[in-house]
């Protein structure tokens, strides 16, 4: 089943493709979290609680920032995958960013991102590994599905954007409403500016 998407993000080196998979109804979150805590190298993924992912662009901007920091030897956390989770955060506290954006024991909807840092990590190898270890339903990584998963109130709280006008109107065919678009732009700005002094 073609659940894993492999993409090249503009400007990032062609040698660093990014693999993304979205799962719903994940059953083994505690097991996956345990692998992260024990530092199991086979489970070097960015494991993100999808309820705090607003859109495809939101997630990919965090990847972009993390990989750029990786290329410039500026990682603040252990590796580029933990850095992706950290990059989603508007604040500088790493542990706190993992709590808010990372996988928890109760995570049901999970966004998995893997950057191929070495050529032996391929679409096939990542797909096989995920298929074996993720107990959940793979779904396409697109805005329409993310919009049914995301918790906008929680996202606004984490980014301290409570005063933004909330849009209750849903636009048809998966396009963002004006309010959604403004919120997304605020998220991107917060990610870009994190750590600025």
């Amino acid at each position: 089943m073609a659940s894993l998407e492999t993409l090249h993000i503009s400007h990032l080196p062609a040698s660093l493709p990014v693999h993304v998979a979205l799962y719903r109804d994940v059953q083994n979150a505690p097991f996956l979290r345990q692998q992260l805590l024990s530092g199991n190298k086979d489970f070097e993924y960015a494991l993100i609680d999808a309820s705090v992912v607003f859109s495809r662009t939101h997630a990919l901007v965090a990847v972009f920032r993390a990989v750029n920091d990786y290329l410039n030897n500026r990682l603040k956390s252990r590796n580029v995958h933990s850095e992706i989770v950290f990059s989603l955060s508007p604040a500088n506290n790493i542990a706190d960013s993992f709590r808010k954006f990372g996988l928890t024991d109760s995570t049901k909807d999970l966004l998995i991102i893997k950057v191929s840092l070495t050529p032996d990590i391929t679409h096939e190898s990542v797909e096989a590994h995920l298929q074996e270890h993720i107990q959940g339903t793979p779904v396409p990584f697109d805005d329409e599905i993310l919009s049914t998963i995301r918790d906008v109130a929680k996202i606004k709280k984490v980014y301290k954007l409570g005063s933004l006008p909330s849009s209750t109107t849903k636009e048809a065919n998966g396009t963002l409403s004006d309010g959604d678009r403004q919120l997304e732009k605020c998220l991107l700005g917060a990610i870009a500016l994190r750590g600025a002094t």
């Binding site: 503009s10 400007h11 991107l188 700005g189 600025a196």
Partner: protein, 280 residues
């Protein structure tokens, strides 16, 4: 004919963009920054890339500090304005360190949302060119001329409202000209109808760009200077539209509560010029 001995070569791109295909295209350059058109995340999303190259004649530490300060300042203003709902390009990504690779080349950069359309300057130039070509229509005050004028008046109102929204948010632009005001067409096909001798379209949202000289201030003085600079820009760039400039001020007046104070101050600024009194 002039003979150029050397073609201009912009400074090398920061390493991240050096291998981008197709390469970013240079749009304009100023003393401080180069503006490129490129894409973001995927090849179908256009984006504006503003690079502040490092200046080789400055001491490296000072250079890094200055560019970092300025690029961050600009990004902070934009992010704040997005939050306040003012029409400005969103910040998509940035790098303020500006020390890419061993060469130390490159500079800091901001990737911004691409704004469709043309500067208000171009829209007004088209309108003035049309006016010049159709003098008869103006003299006879035909319906076509009246309609055109009404639309330009509306445009100027929107300019005033947008500047008002900016000031309301506590930000001063610092370099308000009609080149730094974009006209983002409501309809995608607004480029047509020019050849047909019809009045060029001035429909669209006003989007403010280039916050390189922006600052945070809520003082009437600073706001008035912003308006004064815009007024002077109109006078020198759009002589035929200048008589309509009061429309800008009217749009501004209606846009927020403190506008009256800034407009009152504007009268004072007009008397003395942009610079504050310099005694002694």
């Amino acid at each position: 004919m002039t003979t150029t001995t050397e073609t201009y070569r912009p400074p090398p791109l920061p390493s991240l963009f050096a291998t981008t295909t197709p390469p970013p295209t240079l749009l304009t350059q100023g003393a401080e920054a180069h503006l490129y058109k490129t894409v973001f995340l995927d090849a179908s999303t256009p984006a504006a890339l503003k690079i502040r190259p490092s200046k080789p004649y400055r001491h490296p530490i000072l250079d890094r500090r200055l560019t970092r300060q300025r690029v961050l300042h600009e990004a902070r203003c934009l992010v704040k304005l997005i939050r306040e709902g003012v029409n400005v390009p969103a910040v998509l990504a940035m790098d303020w360190e500006g020390q890419n690779g061993e060469s130390g080349q490159g500079g800091s950069w901001i990737l911004m949302e691409w704004i469709d359309g043309a500067p208000v300057r171009v829209a007004l130039e088209r309108w003035e060119a049309w006016l010049a070509k159709n003098k008869g229509l103006a003299e006879q005050n035909t319906p076509q001329y009246q309609e055109g004028t009404t639309r330009v008046r509306d445009l100027l109102r929107r300019v005033g409202q947008t500047v008002g929204a900016l000031h309301k948010a506590g930000v001063i632009h610092g370099d308000l000209t009609t080149s730094n005001l974009m006209l983002r067409p409501w309809k995608a096909d607004a480029e047509v109808a020019l050849e047909a001798g019809e009045c060029p379209s001035v429909d669209g949202d006003i989007v403010l760009i280039d916050f390189g000289l922006a600052g945070q201030s809520a003082s009437d003085e600073d706001r008035a200077v912003d308006l004064y600079v815009l007024e002077r820009a109109f006078g020198s760039t759009h002589p035929r539209t200048e008589p309509l400039f009061p429309e800008v001020l009217q749009g501004y007046r209606e846009s927020y509560k403190g506008a009256a104070g800034a407009l009152k101050k504007l009268e004072e600024v007009r008397m003395r010029g942009r610079k504050r009194s310099m005694l002694g």
